[in-house]
């Protein structure tokens, strides 16, 4: 399903090397190119030929990749290594990590199947061996000048792959992919640790005892094998004991017998050096070949990997009577390989022996990490290699049988030495000087050369080695062991094995962790803001205010920022009466962006603002914006100011405590008025309310069409703010609006206070059974509320009588405003609101004389209530 994505746009975070550096770096050397940085990711003898920019899709997200085409001098092989970008801009090799390795081996494929439409989708797949194909996408445009275009990238890979498969046929080249292991699945810390390996690596001495014996298809359980296996003064650490011709029976050969013979292994364990305790690590058998690794007790804890394998080179090159068995192990940080081989027999078969060697060398591979024999630090090749002493025809055959011959004289004719000089086999291997008699062929039980077939004596049984820090201490045969037609041979080595100094390693590891953490902390994307407090000063009801602030990116990476959405119930980045623009953006390096905050203390905000004034400071935070930087920290931006209240939103009680227009009160005064609970009112009814009713009353038929809804249309535009100021200043000027705007103002004046007008009796009224009962409740309202309510009812009734508006409509609109309730949840709320209101504005209202004075329907009369007491 990943594959169905089409690359539509560039993901964020380009892979550029930080163009922002250019400005400041006038004197400094130019920053390294991306190719140079990628090259530093690899070792000295590994070359990055080219880079190609692509991306992968991981869980619907773009993940940028740099594909590096790399070759290794030592391995002679090419590979594509996919690097992921830890952070941008890419300035150091550590800003990249290896995510995937694609060796350009025989199984490698790059799929750009035109039929599948890949090409048009800018998509390709890389595939090696058993792995799943990895899908990549790329852009038509390349961003780095060193980065290839896809066609060039593709052509280069194809040509490299072809050059390798050509060379593969030639035995002169040893192709190895083991160098790639360093780039497989290694994390940032591990890679760093690897780079600093020399700081914690020491070389510890280990004694390795290699032994070989062709046992001629017999079992020698009574043989005194100590003579062969405990020739060292000190007890060795590791034994590699190789036997050949363990079993030459046809069925063993055909069945490729791989069963181990516990008797043999026990016999070996009994015969090793007596001064230490030993245990078997691992054995491997193939028909006649047995290789057993025995280690000093306690050594297993230092061996972290141990693998076996074998290869058949016998009859028809398939049977197991000839071939090799091998064991690969890792001791501390050193990789060691032991090979026991039995190569083609007979004097004339030098070429076959060479071929056997070459095939074993090329094909034997350990399955855990595709490691060949050559991919070890220390290699010991043991066995009956079967190379003979081939004397020229002018020397009599009997010359070789003369025990007084110097060894050197005989060894001039040794096929193995000759072939090695010719580099036909065992290239780069070492062998110690041979200071012993030919080990083949004897009459069993004697030290006499074979008399039965009169085979020429030969140095068939050999021990060679390859690798650094190997010193041979002994190389000898054991004449006293006469059971077989071969004499056994042994060699003792001192090997300095790469080992981790745990103390130093711990210290380096700590430093690496610290450095990696520090880099992560230091590379956190960051932005600066020019202020964390946006002060709107004094704001007023329904008056738009605008402030700007600036965010800038001074850090060396492009930064994405966004304002965080706050928790429910808000579910938005800020209060509804604030607007922030933009919500999110990307800031390239050294750029800034202006953020605009708009504030409109509209009807939704009023109750909250007044409550804040009443309960907290006069100046307070309207809101706090959370400015979030992707992969970084959050900054809080306080939106602050003070609200200068208008009459809208204040309770009738509060308004009745005023004796001046609202505009003449300070916020502090209003706070006091709001918190005053005494019944000392200055007027019986708020002047603002009275003025509105008075104006509306005078509009007569113009009232037609008013009070259609309890929800005035928002935002409040037109001349509303003029009406607001007219009310807040008790203006002497003519009303600045019309009937409609006055009606809206009236509804808001009743609607905006925190409490509905008929509180605290809303519940009772909604439950009331009769008009009389309702009347009683009205009677016990606070005087300002009661007066306002009755005055409103009288006014409405006149309009109804004059048919400016319809009774039920008005009862419903005002009922819902005056009786608004959170507690009353029954479905008949609207009906009840209307019914309650009908008691007071319905046609039979005259049966119940109004509570306020004797003014009847005459609004004018009520003016007397406005006089101060």
């Amino acid at each position: 399903m990943e594959d169905e994505h089409e690359p539509t746009c560039r993901p964020n975070g380009s892979t550029s090397t930080g163009s922002g550096d250019d400005i400041s770096a006038t004197n400094a050397p130019p920053p390294p190119s991306l190719l140079q940085i990628v090259q530093k990711k690899f070792k000295d003898n590994e070359k990055v030929h080219s880079i190609f920019e692509a991306y992968q899709l991981k869980n619907q997200e773009h993940a940028n990749r740099i594909l590096a085409v790399v070759s290794s001098l030592s391995g002679g092989t090419y590979a594509i290594i996919s690097l992921s970008i830890v952070r941008t801009p890419i300035r150091f090799p550590t800003d990249l990590t290896c995510t995937n390795v694609f060796p350009l081996n025989e199984s490698f494929q790059i799929l750009v199947d035109g039929n599948k439409g890949f090409k048009s989708q800018l998509k390709f797949e890389l595939l090696t061996g058993d792995g799943k194909p990895a899908t990549f996408y790329y852009y038509i445009m390349k961003s780095e000048k060193e980065s290839l275009f896809f066609d060039d990238f593709y052509a280069q890979i194809v040509s490299f792959k072809m050059s390798m498969s050509d060379r593969h046929l030639s035995p002169d080249f040893e192709l190895s992919y083991v160098w790639l292991n360093d780039y497989r699945q290694v994390g940032e810390v591990k890679q760093e640790l690897k780079n600093r390996e020399s700081e914690y690596t020491v070389y510890n001495n280990y004694k390795i005892y290699c032994a070989t014996w062709n046992v001629n298809d017999k079992s020698f359980m009574n043989s005194n094998m100590n003579l062969w296996l405990s020739c060292s003064t000190e007890p060795p650490d590791i034994y590699a004991i190789a036997l050949q011709e363990l079993n030459n029976s046809t069925e063993a050969v055909i069945l490729k017998d791989t069963r181990l013979d516990p008797a043999w292994i026990r016999k070996m364990l009994d015969s090793v050096h007596p001064d230490s305790q030993y245990e078997e690590l691992r054995s491997v058998r193939l028909v006649g070949l047995l290789l057993t690794i025995i280690v000093r007790k306690g050594l297993k804890a230092h061996i972290s990997r141990c693998r076996i394998n074998s290869i058949t080179r016998g009859i028809l090159k398939m049977m197991g009577n000839k071939g090799a068995v091998a064991i690969s192990l890792q001791l501390n940080e050193g990789n060691i390989c032991f090979v026991n081989s039995h190569l083609a027999a007979h004097m004339a078969n030098v070429a076959e022996r060479n071929q056997d060697y070459n095939i074993i060398e090329k094909d034997l591979m350990f399955d855990d990490d595709q490691r060949h024999i050559r991919d070890h630090d220390h290699i010991f090749w043991i066995g009956d290699l079967n190379y003979r002493l081939q004397i020229p025809p002018d020397i009599p055959a009997s010359w070789l049988r003369d025990k007084n011959n110097p060894f050197e004289a005989m060894l001039i004719h040794d096929q193995l030495l000759q072939e090695r000089v010719q580099r036909n086999c065992f290239v780069d291997y070492m062998e110690g000087d041979i200071k012993f008699c030919p080990t083949y062929k004897y009459n069993p039980g004697t030290d006499n050369y074979d008399t039965e077939k009169m085979r020429a004596p030969a140095y068939c049984d050999r021990i060679l080695w390859k690798g650094d820090r190997i010193e041979q201490l002994a190389y000898n045969s054991v004449m006293e062991m006469r059971e077989s037609d071969h004499k056994p041979v042994y060699a003792i080595f001192n090997v300095k094995i790469k080992t981790r100094d745990e103390k130093k390693y711990k210290r380096v590891q700590e430093e690496v962790l610290k450095a990696v953490d520090k880099r992560e902390n230091d590379n956190q994307p960051q932005i600066t803001v020019d202020t964390t407090v946006i002060d709107f000063g004094v704001v007023t009801f329904n008056e738009l205010a605008i402030r700007d602030f600036t965010v800038s990116n001074n850090c060396p990476l492009p930064v994405n920022f966004q304002f965080r959405i706050k928790d429910p119930p808000l579910n938005a980045i800020c209060e509804k009466w604030l607007k922030v623009d933009p919500h999110n953006d990307t800031l390239p390096i050294d750029t800034e962006r202006t953020i605009r905050v708009k504030l409109l203390p509209d009807v939704r905000s009023i109750r909250g603002l007044l409550k804040k004034i009443r309960t907290t400071n006069l100046k307070f935070d309207f809101d706090t914006l959370i400015l979030h930087v992707e992969n970084g920290a959050d900054k809080f931006i306080s939106v602050t100011g003070s609200y200068q209240p208008s009459c809208f939103g204040l309770s009738m009680e509060t308004l009745c405590r005023t004796d001046r227009p609202m505009c003449q009160y300070s916020q502090e005064d209003i706070k006091q008025l709001m918190n005053d609970v005494t019944p000392d009112y200055r007027v019986t009814m708020p002047r603002e309310f009275f003025l509105l009713i008075d104006y509306l009353h005078k509009q007569g038929p113009k009232l037609v069409g008013t009070f259609q809804t309890d929800k005035p249309q928002l935002p409040l535009v037109g001349n509303f703010n003029l009406v607001r100021d007219w009310l807040d200043t008790w203006s002497e000027d003519p009303f600045p609006g019309d009937a409609q705007s006055a009606a809206v103002a009236l509804l808001l004046l009743l609607k905006l206070p925190e409490q509905p007008l008929l509180e605290p009796l809303v519940g009772h009224l909604l439950e009331s059974k009769s008009k009389a009962e309702a009347m009683e409740y009205i009677d016990i309202l606070s005087a300002p509320k009661r007066n306002v309510f009755m005055h409103l009812c009288m006014f409405l009734r006149v309009g109804i009588e004059c048919q400016y508006y319809e009774l039920h409509q008005v009862a419903s609109v005002f009922g819902r405003i005056l009786l608004r309730s959170k507690e009353y949840t029954r479905g008949d709320f609207n009906t009840r609101c209307s019914e309650v209101m009908m008691h007071f504005i319905g046609p039979d209202i005259m049966d119940n004389p109004p509570l306020i004075g004797n003014g009847g329907g005459n609004v004018q009369v009520s003016a007397q209530f406005l006089n101060t007491s």
Partner: protein, 204 residues
Amino acid sequence: MAKKTYDLLFKLLLIGDSGVGKTCILFRFSDDAFTSTFISTIGIDFKIKTVELRGKKIKLQIWDTAGQERFHTITTSYYRGAMGIMLVYDITNEKSFENIVKWLRNIDEHANEDVEKMILGNKCDMSDKRVVNKERGEAIAREHGIRFMETSAKSNINIERAFCELAEAILDKTSGRESAENPERVVIDRKNNDKAPGYNKCCA
């Protein structure tokens, strides 16, 4: 995007009144440094630090919150993801100690139920200005069944220990849940050989 370089990731949170030293504690822990100039945190910062506990690399992502009163509501929304919370007070500031109860209540209301907590009495280097003695800190911690330590970001007292102890407490909780990570040593398989079981591992 970065390759995983750790075994576990723990999110920790520092809370407490403004000026008690939260930012300094974090700075000491992450950068081993201290500055005496007070720049009040206006937002949420975080730093990472990888520690090794019981052979595991644990990446701590530590969030430093604004202590100022005006941000109290907003910072509670950051409690949710935290696996461990440090409540910090200042031993030279009575009010900051009294507010610990308030901060604890905030945690109860907003943090994960199983969050590990620890109280830190910071600035213990200022013994001449001390107004909250150690016993009171211990008492409130005991009362709420949580860890307590006196620290000094300035003199580097108990800073590392506090974080490691908190992380270890979280590790104790989590280790029960997830199976043991695969050990470094590789098992040598002996397909072709039938030896007694238990002989299979080379690292006995």
